[in-house]
Amino acid sequence: MTKPTRRHVLGIYGERLAADYLTSIGYEVLERNWRCGIGEIDLIARDKDRWVFVEVKTRNGAGYGTPFEAITDAKMNRLRRLVGEWCRICQVAGVQVRIDAIAVLIDNGQVKLEHLKQVF
């Protein structure tokens, strides 16, 4: 792998913050940056008996709107397919799943984190 770019670093930093946050509210983080042929799931966690798949979006400055606005319909559709793919590969069936989104906004050194549950 080539040297990570600035944007890359920001994303990795945001994902770490999100994972810490989920742990702090009692979720069990199972996997980070799970990849397959279709793409990548940022975080997979467990909220009691529910499997939670999380898309993390990190932004530096709010000049272009909230980070959530960068999660387009296409991305959501891919995430949905990824969830099916993950269940197939890991042979998980008959469980309840949920897709969440977390926005990490870094603005003038201040970090703001927002968590939306059950986005579909």
Partner: protein, 503 residues
């Protein structure tokens, strides 16, 4: 979960439906969804509302916004819902007072910078909403003049979204509108006067009779004899519209996007002879739109060069002339538009125009000549009470100015008042509207005033219909002289005005 509601109105023809605009902000990925049967131009409202709010410093929440227009079964179109959508969304997000927003009905289109643009149909929208029991309105400042015509309602005009937000209790700084261009509300009063017409006293006097009874009129004469001038000045002697009539006419004009405001002068519409039947009667692609005859409601429809009009366009006028209203049916439904107008037609006697001119030679061959005026069909001419021959003005009379319109209007108004007593017990308001059967039974002129008419009828010079028409005209002439029952002299004049050569 945040929820807020405000009101808007959906217009179909001149009828409206009150619409609840409900906004919900749910905790989900940012999206702006508009449901409730919007058409293409209304679906675009989401983009306009988003930009207008952001650029006015009223930020929208980064969540999913769902706006519902209820009742969802009523089709909605156009950009006039923008303001209501913006207000409901801002109220749902807590940027302004929810209760205040719910108490008002909003009409207006938003520009991307947040200024509020005027829309068509504000007057009929508000009239319809008032009918349905709503009384508090916020409209674009551009449309305030027409909205203020309606009595017993509260209405405010605003230029910018921030002004509305601050009116509803937001702490945003109200901005002035970005677009400075304002519609000039000063009504260009129609200052035409019959004193401009030189040497046509008889024709003008005939116009006075036509104005008194609301009679449809046809003028035939050489080019340059003053037909158009005389016709254009008819509104200057028609009685001023009542408030009710003025609002009816202004409602149709507002729907057609004509300059806002109300006028108490009778409207005058002169379509070009190229006009299609649907431009006259009304049309529209999927949604009915009023035609020129409805814009001439309570006023004058002037067809200059009448034989040059397309046959279907002329024939289409027959039914509305009878009914005083027109029903336009399109894919989206049927709309009724009022169309009680006075028809004035002008024609040349032949295509070159000089058939009756003693000084110039007519170049038309006989078949062409006879075919020309025949384009005005019998059924259409049947509805014309007055047929005039307009001659060129002789040199000796070219200095003679016509009477002043304001004096003529006084005469017409006095005559109508005089006739009103007779018409009071009938469903008709003008002499021209009284049908023949009723005329013969109830309004038989006294004594042997009709002797000349009866003779003409016996000899076959006059049809029954022509007979009725003469009586009708005679009443208008008698009203002008404040005589209760027409005399033999009035009837003789009526026979002259009715014309002979032209049906």
């Amino acid at each position: 979960m945040a929820l807020a509601k405000t009101k808007a109105v959906a217009l179909f023809g001149l009828n409206g439906t009150l619409i609840d605009v409900e906004a919900d902000i749910s905790s989900n990925l940012p999206n702006f969804i508009l449901v409730g049967l919007p058409d293409a131009s209304l679906s675009e409202a989401t983009s306009r509302v988003r930009a207008a709010c952001t650029n006015s410093g009223l930020s929208l929440p980064g969540r999913r916004i769902t706006v519902n227009l209820s009742p969802a079964s009523v089709p909605k179109r156009g950009s006039s819902f923008d303001l209501a959508i913006a207000v409901s969304v801002l109220a749902a997000s807590g940027a302004l007072n929810q209760e205040a927003a719910g108490e008002w009905l909003h009409v207006g289109e938003l520009a991307l910078d947040g200024s509020i643009r005027g829309v068509n149909g504000v007057l009929p929208s508000l009239l319809a909403a008032k009918e349905l029991g709503w009384s508090r309105f916020i409209v674009p400042n551009e449309n305030l003049a027409e909205a203020e015509v309606i009595e017993e309602i509260e209405v405010f005009g605003f230029d910018h979204l921030t002004q509305v937000a601050s009116f509803h209790g937001s702490d945003v700084q109200p901005l002035a509108a970005g677009n400075e261009a304002k519609i000039n509300r000063e009504q260009q009063s129609n200052q035409l006067c019959y004193s401009d017409v030189l040497g046509q006293p008889e024709v003008i006097e005939s116009m006075v009779v036509a104005a008194t009874g609301g009679h449809h009129l046809l003028m035939v004469g050489s080019p340059g004899s003053g037909k158009t001038m005389v016709a254009e000045r008819l509104p200057s002697i028609l009685p001023r519209l009542t408030a009710e009539q003025a609002i009816e006419t202004a409602a149709v004009e507002s729907l057609s996007g004509l300059p806002a405001g109300i006028s108490f002068d009778a409207p005058f519409r002169a379509p070009h002879h190229n006009s299609s039947a649907s431009s006259l009667i009304g049309g529209g692609l999927s949604v009915p739109r009023p035609g020129l005859i409805s814009m001439a409601h309570n006023g004058v429809l002037f067809l200059d060069e009448a034989p040059e009009f397309q046959q279907p366009a002329l024939e289409a006028l027959r039914q509305p002339l009878e009914a005083g209203e027109v029903f336009i049916s399109r894919a989206a439904g049927v709309a009724r538009f009022p169309a009680r107008f006075q028809l004035i037609m002008a024609a040349n006697p032949c295509p070159c125009g000089y058939a009756w001119d003693p000084t110039k030679r007519c170049k038309c061959v006989e078949p062409v000549k006879s075919r020309y005026l025949n384009r005005l069909s019998g059924p259409l001419l049947d509805r014309i009470d007055i047929s005039l021959r307009v001659n060129n003005v002789p040199k000796a009379m070219q200095k003679e100015r016509g009477p002043v319109s304001s004096q003529l209007r006084e005469r017409v108004t006095a005559a109508r008042d005089f006739g009103a007593a007779r018409l009071a017990k009938t469903p008709w308001r003008l002499n021209a509207q009284v049908p023949g059967a009723y005329l013969r039974r109830q309004w038989k002129p006294n004594g042997n005033a009709t002797a000349a008419l009866d003779k003409a009828l016996e000899r076959g010079l006059l049809s029954m219909r022509g007979y009725d028409r003469c009586i009708r005209l005679a009443y208008s002439i008698a009203d002008l002289e404040q005589v209760a029952s027409p005399t033999a002299e009035h009837i003789a004049r009526a026979m002259y005005l009715r014309g002979t050569e032209l049906g």
